[in-house]
Structures are given as structure tokens and as C-alpha cells.
């Protein structure tokens, strides 16, 4: 599902509500997915700058109790073109590399519900292609994608929510 709308229309708020990061102040919201099955990509990469890419994914892998976390982290880093930088501190990463690492973190635990807030921000053409390929490999996952530029995903989306 594409979530579109102008600045301040509530796209980010909606995604954070669905993730459980905000509690609704009115109305009801029922997200029938356990916390550990949500993949959330926000405006921040949610990684520690003083840790390496691999250490960050290893920490999340531990917290999500992934049985083969190292293999899974390695495979994602390779897929998103970060394998060579796996042992570098995140503080040295460019904006695009940070977004790629944030995507690795989001997909690490194979979530059933993807909440992606402007996922193409900072990505180059190759990064955009990689993200499209990753989404295409997850036909069973539900994805809410908030974006200013819905054209790239319009053919794949089954619904669109336009906030005003």
C-alpha cells in the first residue's frame, strides 16, 4: 500500500502508529502482527555510529533471536553492496550507504509487515533497483510505503492511501 500526501499530512505518524512507536490519542488501531514481525524504516537509520555495519546487524540479530544471524547479516550486506564496508564504523558511511544499511536492518528478521518511510531517500539508481528487487522477493509480506514519489512503486501497489 502506498501512503502519499504533502508534508505534514501524517504519513510518518501513521507508520509510527502502526509500528507501536506512538499510541493513538483517539480512535482505534488494530495491527494484528507481533512486534518482532514488523520491519520499520524511519527517517533515522536506527544504527549506532560507533559500531560497524556487521556489529549493528549482529546486535539486532541477537535481539530478534535469529538462529543464523551472522549468515543472514552477511547475505543482506552483500545483496545491498555493503559487504566490503562491513567492518567499517557506520560514522564513516555516506548517506546512501546508511540508507542501505537501514534497509538491511529492516529486512534482517524477514518481517511480515514492512513500514517504509521514504525508503528511496539517499539511494542511488543501483540502490533503488536493489530495494525493488528485495520487495519483489517478498510477495507474502504486507508493505506500507510512505513516499513523495509514488511512481516507482505504483505498478506494484495494490492500494493507495492519500493523506491530506
Amino acid at each position: 500500500m502506498l501512503v502519499t500526501g504533502p508534508n505534514g499530512s501524517g504519513k510518518t505518524t501513521l507508520l509510527r502508529l502502526c509500528a507501536g512507536l506512538y499510541a493513538p490519542t483517539g480512535g482505534e488501531l488494530d495491527v494484528d502482527v507481533p512486534r518482532g514481525s514488523i520491519g520499520f524504516l524511519g527517517h533515522e537509520p536506527l544504527v549506532y555510529r560507533e559500531l560497524t555495519a556487521l556489529e549493528n546487524l549482529d546486535l539486532y540479530g541477537r535481539l530478534y533471536r535469529l538462529p543464523e544471524r551472522r549468515e543472514r547479516a552477511g547475505a543482506l550486506l552483500e545483496r545491498f553492496g555493503l559487504w566490503r564496508a562491513r567492518n567499517e564504523r557506520v560514522a564513516t558511511f555516506s548517506r546512501g550507504m546508511l540508507q542501505r544499511l537501514a534497509l538491511c536492518r529492516t529486512f534482517l528478521h524477514d518481517p511480515d509487515l514492512l513500514l517504509l518511510d521514504e525508503p528511496f531517500d539517499g539511494l542511488d539508481a543501483e540502490g533503488v533497483e536493489l530495494l525493488h528487487a528485495e520487495l519483489a522477493e517478498r510477495p507474502d509480506a504486507t508493505a506500507l510505503v510512505a513516499t513523495h514519489d509514488p511512481e516507482g512503486l505504483a505498478s506494484r501497489a495494490t492500494a493507495q492511501l492519500a493523506l491530506t
Binding site: L21, E44, L51, L59
Partner: protein
């Protein structure tokens, strides 16, 4: 190792690794506590009572802890990582416990320098004082970590943390000074132990509500 203990260990290890890389909290705590004790040494008149000297040690410990606590959630706040930790399926109290252990390690390391410095400047250490400091560390780290998490979510975080933390650690200072100089240190040590237990349970149980809006 249970899953909960593994989560706590992973989070505490991460904090120690971050400090090892950034080295921006422990050196500041060490420098502060030694500087404070040096200032107190020259500020206190000759012939001051043991109670006054011990009181100054506790002031130095509390403010050193405050310095460390003010940076406890800085990495999570600046990079929004707390959202990532909160979304993980682990028990959210593990985040508090892991951070509390990290804070306690920094505090103990600062005290390993502060206590010999105190013995050098003022009077020899007693076992009661060392026991009181060890007990106080748990209470300070437990309540301080919870308040640091609350302050991290606030705009006035630099103001909020000391305003909340200092009144709540007054019992620690009372218990610590009492255990160090009173004729019956046992009751003061028991008081510190009770304070630790009550606040550790309260903080453990309430952390989830602090990190979710």
C-alpha cells in the same frame, strides 16, 4: 543463558564497546571526580570532621554519576536507535537492565580512582564506606538510568535529569554518610539495600512505559 539474560548481556556489551570506541564518558567522569576531590581537599578547613569529609565524597560520587547518566542515552537519542531497540521483540526492561549495568561499570571504574584519592586527601577508607558505595551504585544506576531515558525524550533534557535525579538520590547520601560514620552502620547499609531493591523493581517494571509514547 536464558534469552532475557542474553539480551541484557548483548545490550550491556554494546554500551561498553561504544565507550571503548568513543571514550567520551569515562574519561570525563574520572577527571571530574578527581578534580572535585582536589577542590574539596583545599576548600575544607583543617580539623574538619570525618562526617563532613565523607559527605563531600558522596557529593562527588553523586555528581560524577550524574555526569555519566547525562550521556547514557546520547547514542540512542542522536541516532534514534531507541526506536529500533523498542521495536525488537525482547522484553523492554532488558534495555533498562543492560544500560544500568553499563552505567554501573562506569561508576565502579570512577570509584576505583575516587576512593584511593579520597583516602589520600582525607582519611583512610573503612569497610563500611566501601560497602555503602557498592550498595549505592546499584540504586544510583537503577533510578538514574530510568530518569536518563525519560530526560532523553524531553527537549529540556539537560535541565530535567538533575532536577529529577538529585532529589531521588538524597536517601542514598543519607544512607551512605550514615553507614560511613555512624556507630551502627548495619542499619544504614540495610536502608541502602532496601532503597536498591525498591527502586530497582520500580524502574524494571516501569521502563516499558517510559520508552513507549
Amino acid at each position: 543463558m536464558s534469552a532475557y539474560a542474553a539480551d541484557v548481556a548483548a545490550l550491556a556489551r554494546k554500551d561498553l564497546l561504544l565507550e571503548l570506541r568513543a571514550r567520551d564518558t569515562l574519561p570525563a567522569m574520572l577527571l571530574f571526580v578527581v578534580s572535585a576531590l582536589t577542590v574539596f581537599h583545599f576548600a575544607l578547613p583543617d580539623g574538619s570532621s570525618e562526617r563532613a569529609e565523607t559527605g563531600l565524597l558522596w557529593i562527588a560520587i553523586v555528581f560524577t554519576a550524574l555526569l555519566g547518566l547525562s550521556r547514557a542515552f546520547i547514542a540512542e537519542r542522536e541516532q534514534g536507535v531507541l526506536d529500533g531497540l523498542v521495536l525488537a521483540p525482547c522484553d523492554r526492561s532488558a534495555i533498562w537492565l543492560g544500560k544500568t549495568l553499563g552505567v554501573m561499570v562506569f561508576l565502579v571504574l570512577a570509584e576505583l580512582v575516587a576512593l584511593p584519592a579520597f583516602a589520600l586527601f582525607f582519611h583512610p577508607l573503612s569497610w563500611e564506606l566501601v560497602a555503602a558505595v557498592a550498595l549505592a551504585n546499584l540504586g544510583i544506576a537503577a533510578i538514574g538510568t530510568l530518569l536518563a531515558a525519560m530526560a532523553a525524550a524531553s527537549r529540556a533534557r539537560e535541565l530535567l535529569l538533575p532536577l529529577l535525579f538529585l532529589p531521588l538520590v538524597i536517601p542514598v547520601v543519607i544512607g551512605g554518610v550514615g553507614a560511613s560514620v555512624a556507630a551502627n552502620p548495619g542499619s544504614f547499609l540495610a536502608f541502602l539495600g532496601l532503597y536498591d531493591a525498591v527502586f530497582a523493581i520500580l524502574c524494571w517494571a516501569s521502563f516499558e512505559y517510559v520508552v513507549t509514547e
